[in-house]
Symmetry: C2
Subunit: 334 residues, 2 copies
């Protein structure tokens, strides 16, 4: 018998989620059945997309069920096994989410190599789904070409820090980012090699973007939506491409927010807006893993993590991330 502490969705949030929308439960696991493993999580991921799944609006991904444990990316270590494929000690990625211990069929876990000097949490971030999201958005969605000017909104977040660096490594010309504090802006131009960055809370996005992108923008990787999208449409060059990855500006809105006032620019400038969720682009993972492992090994990838300790603080970590309290990837250490 093992006791697992798990966080469940208790109510569908209206607007900003609150701790009352979640419940902490203790689940008792019995002995392993044949082919099962017991995994002690080391890190769990909290991501903006989870807000969408807390609502019951139609989406690619089904909504979270009420009274069920929050699923999502997590990484842990096998502590007991009846599977020859996954021995005790193996490091595994999985989607069982917000719990300290999970017990399931071995086939539902994916072993990853434990590399010297590489924190396991990076498999939830720049080496994992987060990095893949940035890569897919820039390549398969936005068709990044060498020399393109790239603008990344919410650039100090998990996906944004990866996107700016990947864009540069794939040959982008000028790379511009927005973030919600002066400290983050300094990080973008310092640590992450952005050519220009601005604080979207200190002046209108449109004006700052015009200044930062005097030659216009060819590729916009959007994590924010709202006024960021409208501003970008006003500076996009002819034939520009927008990868719509997230729209965190509207995730907790209780009233419907209008789209950009300048949608007609799509026609007159021949622009493309393409939304995506990385789950539909897993076929790009081998190519991404090969490239990213190479870059990472060569020391070309910087990263930040914001780590919150304790499964009991998973909800706090999620809410802090939604408010922009993170730099780079937000993870919960178990």
């Amino acid at each position: 018998m093992t006791t697992s502490t798990q966080i469940q969705l208790a109510a569908r949030p209206a607007g900003w989620p609150t701790p009352a929308d979640f419940a902490t439960v203790q689940v008792e696991y019995g002995d392993l059945e044949p082919g099962q493993v017991r995994v002690a999580n080391e890190f769990i991921s909290v991501d903006p997309y989870m807000r969408g799944r807390m609502s019951d609006a139609r989406s690619y991904a089904p909504p979270y069920a009420l009274g069920a444990t929050m699923t999502g990316g997590a990484i842990g270590r096998v502590v007991e096994s009846t599977s020859a494929d996954l021995p005790v000690g193996a490091v595994v990625l999985h989607q069982f989410g917000w719990r300290d211990v999970v017990q399931e069929d071995a086939a539902r876990f994916r072993a990853v190599p434990e590399l010297p000097g590489v924190p396991l949490s990076l498999y939830l971030g720049v080496l994992g789904m987060t990095g893949l999201t940035a890569y897919v958005g820039l390549t398969a969605i936005a068709g990044l070409k060498a020399g393109d000017t790239v603008f990344v909104s919410g650039a100090a977040g998990a996906v944004g820090t990866a996107a700016g660096q990947i864009a540069r490594l794939l040959g982008a010309g000028r790379v511009i980012g927005s973030a919600g504090s002066d400290d983050k802006v300094a990080l973008l131009t310092g640590k992450y090699g952005y050519d220009a960055a601005f604080n979207y809370k200190s002046a209108p996005v449109r004006r700052q973007l015009h200044t930062a992108a005097p030659g216009g923008v060819d590729v916009f990787f959007d994590n924010v939506g709202g006024d960021h999208l409208q501003a970008a449409l006003s500076v996009m060059n002819d034939g520009g491409r927008v990868a719509l990855c997230g729209a965190i500006a509207g995730y907790n809105a209780t009233e419907k927010t209008p789209g950009p006032y300048n949608m007609a620019n799509l026609i007159t400038r021949g622009l493309t807006l393409k939304g995506f969720t990385v789950g539909n682009y897993q076929g790009h993972a081998p190519e991404f893993n090969r490239l990213m492992t190479g870059w990472f090994t060569e020391g070309k990838i910087a990263y930040d993590e914001t780590v919150v300790d304790g499964i009991e603080h998973a909800v706090d970590a999620f809410l802090s991330m939604m408010h922009g309290g993170n730099t780079g990837k937000m993870v919960v250490r178990i």
Copy 2:
């Protein structure tokens, strides 16, 4: 010496254009220089995109100059020639627009065959730029696949009547159209083979579109924008593609109109919005001409034209078309 009657843009319209925004002038042409032709126009084209060029907002196409003759598609016959390439009697397409007679270098005209039983005006419509616009939007922009459900807004207009038929001929499953009168709706399901059609003035677009497309929409060919675009985003299937061809709903707006309230659907459903102007896709013309000539010869293409007589009524024709007074292509007969 020949006198040419020409319509010029006299002022940039604010909101709906009025006759006062235009001026009629008489231009005297001298004798032909070597290599020139004099062409007597038979039909001139009035098109929604012209409204955009009357404003000085940035666009692919430069704005019309004030005090210059309105340019645009026209077809006429060579009445005098000093060019071996274009003898007297040749039928030629050109872009010199709103005038009864034009005199220019032969290289600026394109000869087209005069086919028995085919009105020359069709070269301005379904056999010309209008048909190409429909074809490019469905194929290069929206990536139409066999079996797709296709929705065309403003389907009784010049591009719309062509788009519905081309979609069907390219293998679309269900084809749905909207139009601004019950007569036009009857024409869509009768003459043009639409599976379903509705009058967008008689009830909210969203409700009618949901009813007409119970299985959702895969390809949306948008000529209207506004509530049509918002409604379509609510019924698009996962992976759906929107070709943004026109947004006539907003062309004469004096206040900025917001974009759709459901832009987040682009992300959750993996939708693509792509705007285009046919001028950038002329490379598709040979393929289109081959296909369309075949379909037309086989009697598979229906068409309507709304013909207004007299260059002095070009402005009236343009305004009537902007108000939906046309069925199929609106042309001015000289």
